[in-house]
């Protein structure tokens, strides 16, 4: 079989992906198989050859990891060098002449493949990798026809689980070390390693310590054989039966690119796609396996109406009429302010826009909030200078304030870790040790509620002054570093108001080089805020007043004055001032920190309209349920935390009668007398580009062709766009897949027409936030109490986790109180014992566990847990929450 046949095998690495290089001192001229190419000097030969269309076979080398030269498959002949060279560890030099297909090279490749197959079982027919296996493919392309090995092969027990989701088959392993290197080099969880020697070498975990990494699934993806398999996908499908589409993960706001695969209209796998500016091929395990909830039995797929005896199925016209009637009645009888819309941070941009238009343009209520009082004020998020994820790599320093990216934005954590490894100093400002602490150059600790204190010192240091505090250590680290200071800004704790974090943001925003990455976690929260699902704002990052004329011209009008945020909406509902409440793909009972308020609000409000995928979202108070399609079932776009708009793709047909949320908004608007005239996703995108100032120029044609998405506003980032399309090789999982738009072909003339000669500037100046925020009051410390920090962990009792069997099996669900060992001993209990916890508001019983990361005097409450927790204990109006902890005896 000739190598040409392989070249047609849709290996993504085969796709020419050439970055043009101008000749210069940093450029080397290299001849590869007679073809002369200009390449960056010092780049690895294997990469250079791949970029220019010559695929050199390899097993151990991975583009995103350091070369180790173990598998010996990538041997090539370099003129003037003795013997064959491993191209994965050979930097190119000027004038280098390389042969990748000479008889000597062929013989060596034959030899290496024969060796690899010596102990490799030929169980391809029952192997998950069969059909998309690099070893299989390369044997066909580069290897000998048959084996001369007549001895007994090596045997191991197979497979053995090495974590909750990863199974290891040591017989199939070819010891390339990709998984072990990923674990230590990329993820920083060095929990798997080689053991044994010679042909008995095997990948091992430590005794009694599973490979429990948030990123373990990546090792399955990059394994070049079927040695590592993932239990969620194992035996579910054969690669040739898979259908693939490129989309972005929406489990958090990083927006990792992935290839979503299905068979028989069922999602079976999500694989990381190497989108250079975002996830670089990696996914976290939650993102990788949370496609399962799409097929949850608990989904509601037909409209429902409250009848006597509970919710009953209804037709779409019945349900839409009922919802429209409830909205109309509330508006007509009590005014627009009697309507509230909560949620929208988990849908697409199109959903967010259509609902913003329905609420603000049609109903004229500004009581709209996509966040559930668990993030940062929208004005702050939208008004701060924004950094890109890539800025992390070129930053003078990275400051992490009020966030644990490893728990809430896992792949952003990988990017921060990679930047730190490359020498960027990381400052971790937190109440306790977190995921970034191990590689932080400087860790600043503060008491809960007082994040602004260390940040004030930090801002002084970044401004060039010394403070006599720990922050001064940063001065020497950043002294001779250029580049922006990237601040990853989050809400330090759900047990305190955002005031302190806002004050910290104001202090840092005053430093010229500082740019922000807002650490809000919900999948499309940035898209929702950008498109106006927040009080006081209109689509496109403008305020009501600034955008009134521009947006109102299309919408026919906008609300008169700023409305209520989530807390205000719920409080107004509890007081009876809000008559109709729309829950847009959210469940405030689990997500809103103040559960008693939600319960009062839902009980008091006249009509609850649930627009979402689960009927029980409002805890039995729903009057109308309008079932929506979800991620994987609908096309559209989403915006990540850096403001990058990326296309989301539909892979499976929704069951039942679920409808896109933006169509539901259109249907309701029509019943309220306004015709949106939007029939296609692309039409919504075009209207967004026309109406929302920050989206100026980002129309459907641009989104379709921009391979890596578009960073808002386009006028500032036009040069960064990589015009596609690069077709995606379906079913390929082991290599970083060159980033591609989807397979939709773009006619050549459309491409020419769509290429903007100069992107349009936003028609209205975008909102900028200047924060004269006042410092939060400090509360004296009560030496007998523990001050609460409440924050989310990656796994918990979240709907997406609970409805994904693979994750639910090991995700912790129950509330727990984490304290320092000293405090646990002072309370006088053992780990796991239940204690009585008393706050100013309530008394609950919780198990307590000592955690080395928690300092004395602080209690950490994971926020996303079932049972008693912050929802009961925290008084949202208090600056901090102190807990008294007592034994039950």
């Amino acid at each position: 079989m000739s190598t040409d046949a392989v070249r047609m095998s849709q290996w993504p690495s085969e796709q020419p992906y050439v970055i043009p290089v101008a000749p210069g001192p940093d450029v080397a001229t290299v001849t590869i198989d007679g073809k002369e190419v200009q390449v960056p000097r010092g780049e690895l030969l294997i990469k250079v050859a791949q970029d220019h269309g010559t695929y050199i076979p390899r097993f151990c080398w991975h583009e995103r990891m350091k070369p180790v030269g173990m598998c010996r498959m990538c041997l090539v002949e370099v003129e003037g060098m003795r013997g064959l060279q491993i191209s994965c560890a050979t930097p190119v030099t000027d004038g280098m002449v390389v042969h990748t297909q000479s008889p000597g090279v062929k013989a060596a490749q034959d030899g290496v493949l024969e060796f690899l197959l010596v102990n490799h079982p030929l169980d391809c027919p029952v192997c998950d990798r069969g059909g998309e296996c690099p070893l299989q493919d390369q044997t066909l392309a580069f290897g000998p026809g048959e084996s001369r090995f007549v001895e007994e092969k090596r045997h191991f027990e197979k497979p053995i689980p090495i974590s909750e989701t990863v199974l290891l088959d040591r017989e199939r392993c070819i010891q390339c070390g990709r998984c072990t290197r990923f674990a230590s080099e990329i993820a920083g969880d060095a929990l798997i390693h080689f053991g044994g020697r010679g042909s008995g070498t095997e990948v091992m975990t430590y005794p009694d310590e599973p490979f429990s990494s948030y990123f373990a699934g990546n090792t399955v993806q990059i394994c070049p054989v079927g040695a590592l398999t993932a239990s969620p996908y194992r035996f579910r499908a054969r690669p040739w039966d898979l259908d693939s589409v490129e989309t972005s993960c929406q489990q958090c706001a990083v927006g990792c690119r992935g290839a979503l695969e299905s068979t028989s209209n069922r999602l079976v796998r999500l694989l990381g796609v190497d989108l250079d500016p975002v996830n670089q091929g990696w996914l976290c395990d939650r993102g990788r396996y949370a496609y399962e909830w799409v097929h949850s039995d608990a989904r509601v797929v037909t409209p429902r109406l409250a009848r006597e005896g509970g919710l009953a199925e209804a037709t779409w016209p019945q349900a839409l009429d009922a919802a429209a009637e409830a909205l109309r009645r509330a508006r007509d009888e009590h005014g627009p302010d009697a309507i509230g819309v909560l949620g929208g941070a988990r849908g697409t941009n199109e959903d967010a826009y259509a609902w913003a238009r329905l609420a603000k343009g049609v109903l004229r209520t500004d009581n709209v909030d996509a966040q559930l009082d668990d993030g940062l004020p929208a004005e702050v998020v939208l008004g701060l200078p924004r950094a890109s994820i890539d800025d992390l790599d070129r930053a003078a320093a990275i400051v992490i304030v009020g966030s644990d990216p490893k728990e809430t934005l896992p792949v952003l954590y990988l990017r921060i870790r990679a930047a730190a490894e490359a020498g960027v100093p990381v400052v971790d400002v937190s109440t306790h040790d977190n995921g970034c602490t191990p590689f932080a150059a400087c860790s600043l600790r503060h008491r809960p509620g007082e994040v602004a204190t260390p940040v004030a010192a930090l801002a002084e240091v970044l401004g060039g002054r010394t403070t006599g505090s720990d922050a001064d250590r940063l001065a020497a680290l950043v002294a001779d570093r250029d580049g922006p200071v990237v601040v990853v800004l989050g809400r330090p704790s759900l047990a305190e108001p955002a005031t302190a974090a806002v004050h910290a943001a104001a202090l840092l925003a005053a430093v010229p080089a500082v740019r922000f990455l807002p650490a809000l976690h919900r999948g499309n929260v940035h898209g929702a805020l950008d498109l106006g699902l927040a009080p006081g704002l209109l689509p496109g990052r403008v305020t009501l007043d600034a955008g009134r004329a521009h947006v109102g011209a299309v919408w026919g009008g906008v609300p008169a004055a700023r409305g209520l945020d989530a807390r205000g909406i719920l409080a107004a509902a509890a007081d009876g001032r809000i008559r109709t409440l729309v829950l847009l793909g959210c469940d405030p009972l689990t997500d809103f920190p103040d559960r008693p308020l939600v319960e009062r609000a839902l009980a008091a409000v006249g009509t609850v309209v649930v627009v979402g995928a689960f009927a029980d979202a409002a805890g039995g108070h729903a009057d109308v349920v309008l079932p929506t399609t979800v991620w994987g079932e609908q096309d559209g776009s989403g915006t990540n935390l850096e403001g990058r708009v990326q296309r989301l793709a539909r892979k499976v047909t929704p069951g039942g009668a679920a409808m896109e949320a933006w169509r539901i908004a259109g249907e309701l608007a029509a019943r309220l007398g306004v015709d949106f005239d939007l029939e296609l996703t692309a039409e919504v995108q075009d209207e967004i580009a026309r109406v929302a100032p920050a989206f100026a120029g980002v129309d459907a044609a641009v989104l379709r062709r921009a391979r890596d998405g578009v960073v808002l506003p386009l006028v500032d980032h036009a040069d960064e766009i990589a015009w596609g399309p690069a077709p995606l090789g379906a079913g390929v999982s082991w290599e970083p897949i060159p980033a591609g738009a989807d397979a939709e072909p773009v006619p050549a003339d459309a491409e020419a027409a769509a290429t903007p000669t100069g992107p349009p500037a936003p028609p209205v100046a975008l909102w900028e936030w200047r924060g004269p925020a006042e410092p939060a009051p400090t509360v004296p410390v009560d030496a007998y109490a523990l001050r609460v920090v409440a924050a989310r962990t990656l796994y918990g009792a979240d709907r997406a986790v609970l409805e994904s069997p693979s994750l639910a099996a090991f995700a912790p669900r129950d509330a727990v109180l984490l304290v320092s060992r000293t405090d646990r001993d002072r309370i006088g209990v053992a780990d796991g014992d239940r204690v009585r916890v008393t706050s100013a508001r309530a008394t609950v019983e919780l198990p307590v566990v000592a955690d080395a990361r928690i300092p004395q005097g602080v209690a950490f409450l994971p926020a996303n847990r079932a049972g008693a927790g912050i929802g009961d204990l925290v008084d949202p109006d208090a600056a901090v929450t102190d807990l008294r902890v007592e034994t039950l005896r």
Partner: protein
């Protein structure tokens, strides 16, 4: 009559009962008095002298010691000296003796070498099995610290040196210089890809010199007696002396320190007393288990590192000479060596990891009457994917030299005993066929 030329083994012969003790070494061997001269010479002059002495590494590769030192990049600190005492090459036992019998000579050499390369930290990586050697060496290091020959400001020179003894955990490949560095850093002893060479990025990614114990033990004598004295001994580019560990079927096995240039016959028949029990020699391994074998007809060749490579297609390697008499089954020897390499392959590079155990399995069959006439050619055929060309000096498709070592005995079988072995395989095959044995052995348990 051939004579030994004791240099590094002189003192231990003179004081066999207490040569390892500090007082004895000071009183009778003037231990540490060479330091003063070294400090007076200065680092550059020492490197120059070692280069002029022609001293070559005595661990196996025979690379110019002074030349190796001169490769350190200028002005890059810290630097490290690592002394390789992992002596894992089968039948080699010279460093074992030097460590147990004259540890102060080694420590003195370490101090001078560290000073020459301006390293303030030195490590001795000692084979874990050398329990007595480790005790005595540690005692020697402690004594040297106690008397101011290690630590801060040694002998008022302003030079500081911390010397650490590190014991290995039983692994052949830790004897490879980059494998040793990985092991010393706490990783698996897996060799690293080169470049970067240790001189540029070695221990903890800092410039590092790795030298064998015997090499370092020689340094004090080059300082004491001068480069010309050392260069005056030996032959051609193989200057000075070397310790040869002679073992196998000889009358007097043991370590013999001789001037290079002596013939194998003088060493084996003269000093070691020839083949025992009046038998005839069948073949011998001239430089450790990794070196291709030689026949009695080669006995009059000189002990010359370059001659061994270019004329005899073998190497003097670690200086371990193993003699086999006429009753030896060369196939059995080959299988035993293959079993060693299959066990000791670190598992990093595919050709060595898989090839070494494949070789072992085939040889096991051959030894046990289950061979096929084509098996020798099969070994040579897939073996040439580890050692392209199969000709010494060996090329390799692996990172380190363990790869070619797995094949050197097979190459020797083919070179000297091919007809004998093929005939045997044909006989075995014929017998099996007549007995209607059709199964193939399950192979050895590795």
């Amino acid at each position: 009559m051939a004579q030994e030329t004791p240099v590094v083994t002189r003192f231990m012969r003179e004081r066999p009962d207490d040569s390892w003790q500090f007082e004895s070494a000071r009183a009778y061997n003037a231990a540490y008095t060479r330091l003063e001269r070294a400090f007076a010479m200065g680092p550059e002059a020492i490197v120059e002298a070692v280069q002029q002495s022609g001293l070559r590494g005595k661990g196996g590769a025979g690379f110019g010691t002074g030349q190796k030192w001169s490769f350190l990049p200028k002005g890059v600190f810290p630097r490290y000296l690592c002394i390789n005492g992992d002596e894992g090459e089968p039948a080699t036992f010279k460093d074992h003796m030097l460590t147990e019998r004259d540890p102060h000579q080694l420590v003195e050499g370490a101090i001078i070498t560290a000073y020459a390369i301006q390293a303030n930290h030195a490590f001795i990586y000692l084979r874990g099995e050398f329990a007595l050697g480790a005790d005595r060496l540690q005692q020697a290091i402690d004594d040297a610290y106690a008397h101011g020959f290690l630590g801060k400001d040694i002998g008022g020179s302003g030079f500081d040196l911390e010397l650490v003894l590190h014991r290995g955990a039983g692994c052949y490949i830790a004897g490879d210089e980059t494998g040793l560095l990985s092991s010393l850093e706490g990783e698996r002893a897996m060799p690293r890809i080169k470049p970067p060479f240790p001189a540029a990025q070695g221990l903890y990614a800092a410039p590092t010199v790795v030298n064998n114990i015997e090499t370092i033990s020689t340094i004090p004598w080059i300082i004491a007696n001068g480069a010309e004295w050392y260069a005056g001994m030996g032959v051609n580019r193989s200057t000075g002396t070397r310790i040869f560990s002679v073992s196998g079927h000889v009358e007097r096995p043991g370590n013999y320190e001789v001037e290079l240039g002596m013939t194998f016959r003088e060493l084996i028949e003269g000093l070691a007393g020839g083949v025992r029990d009046g038998k005839r020699m069948k073949f011998f391994i001239p430089g450790g288990a990794s070196s291709p074998w030689l026949l009695p007809e080669h006995l009059d060749s000189p002990l010359d590192m370059d001659y061994a490579g270019s004329e005899l297609r073998t190497m003097l390697g670690s200086g371990a000479i193993t003699v086999f008499d006429e009753t030896t089954d060369p196939l059995l020897v080959s299988w035993r060596l293959a079993k060693f390499y299959a066990h000791e392959s670190c598992g990093k590079c595919t050709p060595c990891r898989e090839g070494s155990s494949w070789i072992e399995k085939v040889l096991y069959r051959m030894v046990n009457g289950q061979g096929r006439p084509e098996d020798l050619d099969l070994l040579l055929s897939f073996g040439s994917n580890i050692v392209p060309g199969l000709n010494a000096p060996f090329a390799q498709t692996t990172i380190c030299a363990l790869g070619p070592s797995t094949m050197s005995h097979v190459v020797s079988l083919d070179r000297w005993f091919r007809d004998e072995i093929v005939a045997r395989l044909e006989r075995d095959t014929a017998r099996r066929t007549s007995l209607e044995i059709v199964t193939v052995s399950a192979g050895a348990d590795a």
